[in-house]
Amino acid sequence: MSVDMFAEPVPGLRAETVAGVAARRLVVVGNGMVGQRLVDAVRERDTEQRWQITVVGEEPRPAYDRVALTSYLTGTSAEELSLVSEDCYDGERCVLHLGEPAVAIDRDTRTVTTATGRVVEYDALVLATGSRPFVPPVPGADLDGCFVYRTIDDLDAIRERAASARVGAVVGGGLLGLEAANALRSLGVETHVVEFAPRLMPAQVDQGGGEMLRRAVESLGLDVHVDTATEQLTALDDGRLRMNFAGGVVLDVDLVVFSAGIRPRDELARTCGLDLGERGGVQVDDACRTADPAIWAIGECALAGGTIYGLVAPGYEMAEVVADRLVGGTAAFTDCDTSTKLKLLGVDVASFGDAHGATPGALDVVYADPVAGVYKKLVLTDDASTVLGGVLVGDASSYAALRTLVGQPLPDTPEQLLMAGPSTSSLDDAAQVCTCQNVSAGAIRTAIADDGCCDVASVKTCTKAGTVCGSCVPLIKTLLAQSGVEASTALCEHFDLSRAELFDAIRVTGLRSFSDIVAGHGRGRGCDICKPVVASILASLGSGHILDGEQAALQDTNDHFLANLQRNGTYSVVPRIPGGELTPEKLIVIGEVARDFGLYTKITGGQRIDLFGARVEQLPIIWRRLVDAGFESGHAYGKALRTVKSCVGSTWCRYGVQDSTSLAIMLELRYRGLRSPHKIKAGVSGCARECAEARGKDFGIIASDCGWNLYLGGNGGFNPRHAQLFASDLDTDELVRLIDRFLMFYVRTADRLQRTSAWLEALNDEHGDGLAYLRRVIVDDELGICADLDAAMDTHVDTYADEWAAVLDDDEKLRRFVSFVNAPDVPDPSIRFVTEREQIRPADPDPDPDPDPDPATGPVPIAGAQLEVVRR
């Protein structure tokens, strides 16, 4: 087939390719998920650069991952959501105009006009305008305080309103409505869900599943109103909104989010005379082409095969079809899988295939456990031989595997399938593992075997599987494991165990010396990787002072000298200042110590004071003075709890709703000295204004009107992450217990140098939704370890002692704080400072390093590898 399958463009208007050959002009309206996929697909296939691409997009930013939109509220940045690679729009072959909606199509002149008056000519035009949220025609639905949930701009507006809101409502209890409700809740808003139908998620689940879902959702603190029609909204004098329901019931709220379905954005097609479906949608054939051969429509604005798909996977499929056609292929769009799985408020919900049993004679096999909140249904053919579809609520762990069975003969009894899920060993090569990206088990096996993919990340890059909704990641892992390439978790050459395994081994065996541990579980004499890990594990298990006996030899230099090594071999000293609260007297002591020892002094980001430039032999004298004045080690040198940053909160601040400072001090004193896989930072803010930047911390607490909201897994640094809401409106005891368990579970199971954010991401990969899994472990006690975690933390709190005070009382430990074994009081001559802004800073290292040895007394170097070292 030739590419010139539709009429010739107007001569003379063609753009030129680099090679001087006339290029054809492709114009794409809409830079959403599907429009961008089309551009990527065309660029990939059009190796001869026959198409010159122009994209006009209405939104102010390039395409982003709308499926993951909600994560924007829980810390993911707009940049992270972007779907556009850096080199996509080069301004020549591929051009993007943003913030410029197309307003008219002229099919005669083959031009598109944008809102700024720009006129773009096309040889092929692709409409990828998506859909708009449907707002029911309720009087007052356009009042201030009413929102929809579709774009990043929508979310910005909602977030702004939510900052001062107490109560909100979501109209619509479907998939997106519940997602929006969850988002509102995460913003600290008391949230109501109003659904017209008699159950939640009417399109996906049946009445039984809907009932289970309602209970689960309510138990998480949302108010659900099913069978409820919203008749009118009225503005109240105080700026709030009154929702009037059928039957005279009212609900006063601060904001309303409409999420009552979507409608295709087909207005451009309508005004230029293209055919639309009865219920809207641009009518296309199986090539996704409209009746005008130069115009195509894909994604949510298209009506393909009589269906408007509200999911991204069919849209991607359409984009691939059109890209193929544009380079001369014959691909066709076929009926598409509409399986869905989502994770709401920790409740898994999934439906796949013929979930409602619409096939004549279909049989239902239902398993329901109201106590555990689990509802599972399999839909089978009338002879119970073939899987047609199913619904999972409360436990969707077998979703990815069950989904691959649709249309397949039952591999097991239906009960077995519902209870345990299908075994994945026999996964057919043709089985579709990733429905979002349409990737089969065979394609993933090929990527593993032929392209050398050895972990989930490389399979994602190579096949795109797992990159949209992520629900197939567990299956990808299974396939990786089956091919035996799952990356080694061995710590180093001395231990085959991972850190978590080693932790358990040490905990269970009670071994407490490195020699015993390496003899029992490893080999050799250790290294700078495993020794600090063992040291940290022993410290977490409460094995006395970190410099006791053999433990001392395991410590990194920072822990070994209880101070932070700086670039010139000196150390810095950071006394603990819990919550950043400091009396003037103590502040003066710090000032005096710094002055007397000539230390460079700087305020840290964690609300304390760092004193730089101390030599090893000065550390004990400096600490003597600090300890005498009531200071303790700040563990700035350790992989341990660092600080709990706080704002002044309700004691001083006129906006504060809780006493954040007192809480921060209490928490810092509780967890001080806790050793962990990586440093741990925390923050407490006294109100939603978040002055303590708590969401940038491993655990962050933000005061709400009625308690504390707990956020987990944030960090600053190289790869900043916002912490995610874990629980709301906790009282202080509840809060502390959750943090206890979170920290202990992290300490026990994380990898070496894995911050809490990375640990949670790893839990995501392993369990689908890391936060939900964490909730099951530390709230529902699914693993039965909570009592143990609590006891471990209680032991930590009871046995805490200041490391520096202990050193000062122990001559044996003090012995190591000397500059030279044979000249303990001689300062290291290589340490030199210069003055800058009235303080010291290290002089640049000497380019000609070794001082000339004294000819009479200097040691004689043995250079090179040939000479043997004289041994005892």
């Binding site: 030899a553 090594l565 071999g569 074994v821 000339d852 040691p859 250079a863 000479l867 070292v869």
Partner: protein
Amino acid sequence: MMPDSLAPVSDVLQRVAPDTRGAGRNGWVDVCGYDALSLERGAAALVGGVQIALFRTYDGGIYAISNRDPFSGAYVLARGIVGNRGEAPTVSSPMHKQVFDLRTGRCLDDPDVAVMVYRVRVTHGRVEVYTGSEAAA
């Protein structure tokens, strides 16, 4: 200016030829008691103006290398973690974790770099380093 044979030596492993600079002299100088060294840990010593890092390994071995970390220029190798890599007894720089073979001074993470190795022995419970002068002993 120092006599040529005592000129400061570079940390970079260029001189692999057998070194004769100490030839003909026999000066073992006392540094410290063997007990002053902790097991599997280093200690810095100052010998004739040169900073040496002494290490006592698990099998009773004793090693002396330059205390200067050639990557950062700071005198800190004595404060690194002692262990092994394969057959080699090692110390890893506390600054940026490069690992050095205590027997040869060679950096195992960067074959172009090595640090000086010094002769060291233990006699009568004392650690001694070989220096240029009998008088010093």
